[in-house]
């Protein structure tokens, strides 16, 4: 658990972070979102003391970070940043091994961990371990950045716009990857972004920041349904809130289930239970369907989604 109590950070006369209180529960993903210069990165960097707080208290699992040994504090927090910050003169394996080496793990354990992480991020260890960062694509490099942050299995992950420099498709892939990993690993995560869609997709709770203050701290659904101010309302987009809400809910919520799953006919088209309602609506509109079949992971048809049901109950 991370707690910020009345934390302020000044740079000379300007106040970058203005008396904020924020609690990140263990295992949740807290996304700090806001326009550039709103203090979100500063807030993140105060947690691992890359920037000291001017006043206030920051507690990690109940312990004040100011009193903690700097290296011990940071070694226990994964850190991933925009543009990866991979060491250009180290191979992928050596980069991922950064923190385990600082912790003086034995070599076999480090090698095993590197292999495990590369596999977890769906990169073939045999072909990637010995490559150098400049030989990777942007998406691959960022995966390595995430693997490096996870290397020593820290309790806390700090991510500062890690996907900010990637193209839209790669970014979406990595966001899905993050969601998958997070379901598995349940790290306490603080994630900074300026992209509200990224925030809505990844967050357990979102903290919207403006001019150094947290203007709303709530679940994605509540942020969309009950924005606390005009600023938040503008940020989430007044008009397409409906679609954004639909994007948060899976098809499973609204489908009409069959009595028992039926094996799918070959070549049958449809949605998966995990797909969002927004995708379902899009498919229906495009193919002009009144209903669409829903399949589970094994490919069995488990139900159908009706258009009326979607329009009535989707938001």
């Amino acid at each position: 658990m991370i707690e910020l109590k009345n934390v302020t950070r000044r740079f000379g006369q300007t106040v970058a972070v203005d008396h904020i209180d924020l609690t990140v529960e263990t295992g949740e993903v807290c996304v700090l979102v806001g326009s550039s210069g709103c203090g979100k990165s500063t807030t993140l960097r105060m947690i691992n003391r890359l920037l000291p707080a001017s006043s206030g208290e920051i507690l990690v699992d109940g312990e004040d970070v100011t009193g903690m040994d700097l290296q011990r504090l940071r070694l226990n927090m994964g850190y991933a940043i925009q543009g990866t910050g991979l060491f250009p003169h180290w191979s992928v394996a050596r980069n991922i091994a950064l923190v385990p080496r600082l912790l003086k793990w034995p070599k076999e354990r480090i090698d095993a961990r590197v292999t495990e992480l590369l596999q977890m991020l769906e990169m073939d260890p045999a072909s990637f371990a010995d490559k150098y960062p400049q030989q990777l694509s942007g998406g691959q490099a960022q995966r390595v950045g995430v693997a490096r942050a996870l290397a020593a299995d820290p309790n806390i992950l700090l991510m500062d716009e890690p996907f900010g420099a990637l193209d839209a498709i790669t970014r979406e892939n990595l966001q899905l990857e993050m969601l998958r990993l997070q379901r598995q690993l349940k790290k306490t995560t603080v994630f900074v972004t300026h992209d509200i869609d990224e925030a809505l997709r990844l967050a357990t709770r979102i903290a919207v920041m403006d001019q150094g203050r947290i203007v709303q701290h709530d679940t994605p659904e509540n942020i969309l349904r009950r924005p606390a101010s005009d600023f938040v309302e503008n940020l989430v987009g007044k008009q397409d809130r409906g679609l954004k809400l639909m994007a948060l809910r899976p098809v499973r919520d609204l489908m009409t289930p069959h009595d028992k799953p039926r094996p799918a006919e070959p070549g049958a088209d449809g949605l998966k239970e995990d797909d969002s309602l927004r995708l379902a609506l899009s498919v229906m509109l495009w193919q002009d369907l009144r209903q669409v079949a829903v399949f589970d992971h094994q490919g069995n048809e488990t139900g159908v989604l009706l258009r009326e049901r979607l329009i009535e109950g989707g938001v």
Binding site: L50, L70, Q71, G78, I81, F87, P88, L98, Q134
Partner: protein, 393 residues
Amino acid sequence: MPSLDEPPNRVITVLGLLALVLVWVLDLGTVQPNRIVPGTGYGLFAAAGWLGAVTVSAGLCVLMALAVLPLRRRYTLLGILLTLALAALPDLLVIFTSAHLPKDSPYARTAVGAGFWSLLFLLVLMLIEVVGRLRIGRRGQLGILVVILAGWALLIRQGGLDSLSLMREFSNRPDQFLQALWAHLALALGAVAISFVLAFALVLKMMRSEAWRRPVFGVVSFLQTIPSLALFGLLIAPLSALTAAFPLLQSLGIRGIGWAPALLALIAYSLLPMVRNTFVALTEVPEAVIDAGRGMGMTERQLFLQARLPLAIPVIIEGVRITAIQAMGLTAVAALIGAGGFGTFIFQGLGQAAMDLVMLGALPTIGLAIAADVVLSTLANALQPRPAAALPQ
């Protein structure tokens, strides 16, 4: 798949044509009755006889033909031919000497003429073009150089070039030559080593405190703007005063003239390239790399030794390389205040109007500068923090 015929090469054709014209128009060599009197020049035909003239002209024509004819292994053939031609080039001088040097006059000597220099220069340019086309690596380049130098060394050992006035000047003073070599090396390398240590210490200080940056850059840049001769001269008075006040210094060999002011001046000149490159190299490491390393718990010391330094080393060595080349040249000027080195021959030669004595000082100075360049750029390559194979295309 590579095309069967590589396109014809215009550079080599033009250079070959130019060489053919120059070698016929200019003197290949001159014969001097003694050291001072200007000699009589001999053109290609007169100097090397019809056999030599035909060989040279035919050789150049073959090179040009190889450059334009539709051939598959054009550059390999050209490379081999050019290397052999360069290795054998001094043979021309041997032929010339044996034909024209008066046997009865002990002071007579031959000198290399403009035609020979042009031929040498143009052949080297052609070889550089071929080496570039073939993408020969550093080892291959060194191999070619060794073959050529071995050809020359063989000729010199056999005594074929003894009557060349350059060789005469050398054989008159082999001890002095060796002494000059050591003095030159000691001064230049000493200055480079000392300024490297100084610059590194200064840069470490500058990285810690911003207040040091502007003044340090100001001072080292200012030092660089003083003309070298003036700086050598300016140091005479204060050093004389110092040694007069502290006789201990005198017993260490420090005087107003000699090696002490020369070394000081050379260090002063070396500081700017050294400080600039070291500073830029150590501070231009991408901020994201440092931020990530620090955020993941590396100490400042670990960051410096594992990230900044290995990433900076090629650029730092580049600074050492520039400084070393500059110092090799400047040391020649230091001979004016009695510091020794190859400059001694240059200034003696100028005083006596003996151009070949000037050459005896100038050529080794150039040679040392080139050697410093080769050694240090090889070192920088070897210390590239990532394997060359891993570099992006």
